[in-house]
Amino acid sequence: MTDLDAITRDVPYREREASIDISAFESQEGQEELLTLNFGPHHPATHGVLRLLTVLEGEVIRDIKPIIGYVHTGIEKTCEDKAYWKVIPVVERMDYLAYYFNAMAYCSAVEQLIGLEVPKRAQYLRVIHLELNRIMSHLVWLGTSCLDLGAISMFWYCFRDRESVLDLFEMSSGQRMHPRYIQVGGVFEDIPVGWADRVRRFCEEMPTRVDQYAALLDKNEIVVQRLRDVAVVPESTLLKLGVTGPLLRASGNPWDLRKAQPYSSYEDFAFQIPVGTIGDNYDRFRVRMQEMKESVKIIAQALDGLPEGPYITDDRKYALPPRHELATSMEALIHHFKLVTEGFRVPPGEVYAPIESPRGELGCFVRSDGSAKPARVHMRDPSFVNLQAIKVMCTDTYIADFIATLAMLDPVLGGIDR
């Protein structure tokens, strides 16, 4: 037990973070006087509770240190105390803009541990929701990034479109965020009547919207001035830092797990991987814009090719029996009771299941010890790893460009701190 009073009363605040090393912040020969500037954690432009210690020489950033953990909630620890199927809503709250992805990574890890086959229809339904989620996440990114650049109307446009995606989520799963739609073995429910038509309408509308936003922003003098040739990082540096996702693709490396290691039937769809050329902020911006259009293509194809069949595995050891069977079948009642009380047991083993989230490789490591609760759940969150690139991206750039660079990095602090 930590001494609560001592923490708050006796130890001065500065001494509690005494180990933060600012020795590198001494002025070097030939440099002007350095200024240490604390940035965050409560700053609207850090996209969450991110704290950054910056060292400035005049207006130029010489060093930058991210300090994280302010919204650490111990989700990975919580998972160890929950039955496998009760972990899903917990992990969904990690990266709060990519909740379908969190659930997908976790469920595919558990499915691999069990060796469970997911029906084709469930795979397609997952893909549709994942790609809708990707569009939604990129819309939030676009809106807030433009807000950081001073364009308030883009924020409203993007949130208007995000709202239509959330309406689709609400219709298919009952929740706008954290829907717990993806289950071990399939999805929670089949899509409701009329949903497919609404998604089709959205798919017709969205590319036009992206084009409109592109027309507003692509050649906008302010955007171009703020983004072009700023924070250029070569591909080799990004690979060393473990950066994946749109950041890596912006530097010209077409690495995308949907193409490279297709999961959940991604191999059935024709889509392209947008890549940048030099890896500056403008490339990052353009890559994400194009990704939204590619996602729309995937959704349309998945809807057209949506196979008939079950939406969740019929293995009653892992999926709840249909409601109507409970009244007539003793076996269904037993399965239902076992699943709801103890949950299902998973054979012992360890699996690392990576998927492509809107921010990069989202890997879920699950270790099972044979019981009904996972012995370890770890999320390799792309934001956490990508944040390490902030130093290379921002060093020797102007402090004025720093906010734009951070926006193009697209960190989600819920995913970083978990």
């Binding site: 930590t2 609560l4 001592a6 708050t8 691999q112 473990g242 083993g349 690392y352 990576p354």
Partner: protein, 171 residues
């Protein structure tokens, strides 16, 4: 993924290279794993880099309580050219939880090793800046260990500093 045979070939290459780095190989659900000595981790990763696994996708810790050695550190290696993955795993005892740091060769390991240190107390020798990353600096214990209790600790806000259990005993 290298298949089971490919994994054995890799392990044999490593064994031929001299020291007894490889303890075991596991092939489970299509995923290949090399279990190695903690001291040999940098050498094994460098060897795998030569085989094309030049991207460290993830580094994370595991507590195998009550098995011994308890603490595990996993390295998920990725070969982007051949689209191939392999895991390297190592185990250490809680009494001497020391693993050589790989930050010098794999800068991406920096934050991730700090997280493993924070959550499991594995000390990465040679890490340039090994300190807690997610938990507060003055936190005691390593919360992801399996014997670390869940709950029992109030969330500290300004209004409830005195509501913690037994605060009056703590002078």
């Amino acid at each position: 993924m290298p298949d089971a045979t490919g994994l054995e070939l890799l392990a044999n290459e490593l064994r031929d290279a001299g020291d007894d780095a490889v303890l075991d190989t596991v092939f489970f659900r299509g995923q290949a794993t090399l279990l190695v000595q903690p001291g040999a981790v940098p050498a094994v990763l460098a060897f795998l880099r030569g085989w094309g696994y030049n991207f460290l996708a993830s580094l994370h810790g595991v507590d195998y309580f009550p098995e011994e050695p308890r603490l595990g550190v996993h390295y998920e290696m990725l070969d982007m050219r051949n689209v191939d993955r392999i895991s390297v795993k190592t185990r250490v005892h809680t009494e001497a939880p020391e693993v050589p740091s790989v930050v010098a060769d794999w800068p991406t390991a920096n934050h991730q090793e700090r997280e493993v240190y924070d959550m499991f107390g594995v000390v990465f020798e040679g890490h340039p800046d090994l300190r807690r990353i997610l938990m507060p600096e003055d936190y005691e214990g390593h919360p992801q260990r399996r014997d670390f209790p869940m709950g029992g600790e109030p969330v500290l806000f300004t209004h409830n500093t005195r509501n913690g259990p037994g605060w009056w005993d703590q002078s």
